[in-house]
Amino acid sequence: MMMTQQRPFFVPFLVPAVLVAVIFAAAMFNVFQYSFLEFIPGSVEVGGFTLDNFTRINRPVYYWVLLDTFLLSFATAFFALVLSYPISFALVRAEKNWVRSVLVVLAITPLFTGEIVRTYSWMLVLGTDGVVNNTLKALSLIDASIPIMYTRAGVVIALVQFAMPVMIILLATAISQVKRDCEKAAANLGATPNTVFWRVTIPLTMPGILSGFVVVFAWTMSAFSTPQLIGGGKVLMISNVVYLQGFSSFNLPFAAVLSLIALGAALGSLGLMKLATARFERNLATA
């Protein structure tokens, strides 16, 4: 009784949270368990304990998929960073309130339209008879359509736009925390606007840059619909191979192994970010 008086609602609020967490843990445990079960070709039933699923990963084709996933995610994070910074800067520093409102709505809305809508839109823009090819043809810059769909470049073009809302939010938060006095002091001491930007603003927003880069990197590693539809089977990321293994070959155990690898990569990159941010903040503190 004493307990409930000191902690009102503790038990009734704890029970649903624990229940849902246990169900989620059970689902994740199923993936873990399947990765150690024997695949029986032509059947969704599985056999006994085996480590074969893990040795199967040791083939060049899967190394290429992992490398591709890594490189596409890295390129996406890089271009998203470069394109998002000016938008975030304008979003925080624009003088007129309506400009900031227009910018925030335009920048954030794509986050909520869903990946299918966004990916389909890019198919219309990048396709053989898409907007880009038709415009270039109309301007007589090209004679025949250039392939953009089903290429890595096409996938990155779509993934970058996909990632920008999140990057913009993280960068804008960082930029809004920069004390304008620091910039003014540098300018008063004779720094050109360029120098102020590169030597003051950029270093002060470095934590936002780092976390934006890593969040987008980890997020893109698990992208599915964009490589699935824009890549069209010619550009394979790890998610597409998981789907192929699970739903075309019905090799659920190997799909489980690949899912665990994707999970490990996502956790690993976030762990690296924590280390990098901690080191950066330490350097900043001792500088």
Partner: protein, 263 residues
Amino acid sequence: MRSVLFWSLVAAILVYMTLPAVVVVATSVNPTELMAFPPTGFSLRWYEKALTYPDFQTAFRSSLIVMALASTLATLLGSTFAFLIFHYNFRGRGLLEAALWSPLIIPHFTTGFGFLLLGSHLNLTQGYAVIVMAHLLLVTPFVTRAVFVSLSNVDANYSRAAANLGATPSGVLFKVTLPLVLPGMLGGWLIAAILSLTEFTASLYVTASRTQTLPVAMYNYIREYADPTISAISALLILSTTIIMILANHFLGLRRILGIDNG
């Protein structure tokens, strides 16, 4: 001069971000089956087809059922969980937090795959239970975050004053705390509902053909046909999301919700 250059750059990047949405809306009113931009005429035939196509009708119904259940349950779970971790320290709290925040980090296909396996063990692959459960986990962190921020902004003196004046713990919770965090709960519920309605990757794993949600039905359609029917649905989704975002910005302040002040 510098600022002209800067704003041209900003405008060019915004064109890149919004061009796909503009193209979708434009192609959705095109009368012909072939994609044409700019459109060669004006017709609502693809809207009619989208709204009368049986697969989309049943899928939209499924999506609404899943969205209503998942976002409402997520609002209850996220709010109580935010209250719990805001007020109490207890053994196993770290583990519980890790479990309920982790769907943000775990790839959606891993989550979907896990629930597919769990559902087939429990013989639940044909119903809504597993879909709602997967969506609940995916969207709860957003509610938890919104309510936690609201709780941090509430002056604790209100609760103390109410308790001193003789309010019971339930009275304090329902008459003082709840009204103060209600905007956060509503914002969280809105985000949860939109994210559940548009979630695709995990849904692809946990839905059956009878229970497929709208994004899954759209994906299946894209793989088979190339007419602008999907443009029409997409245009409806883009326009309604944009209106919701403009309203949310007006009434709740998007920049405040996102933690962006003006430096």
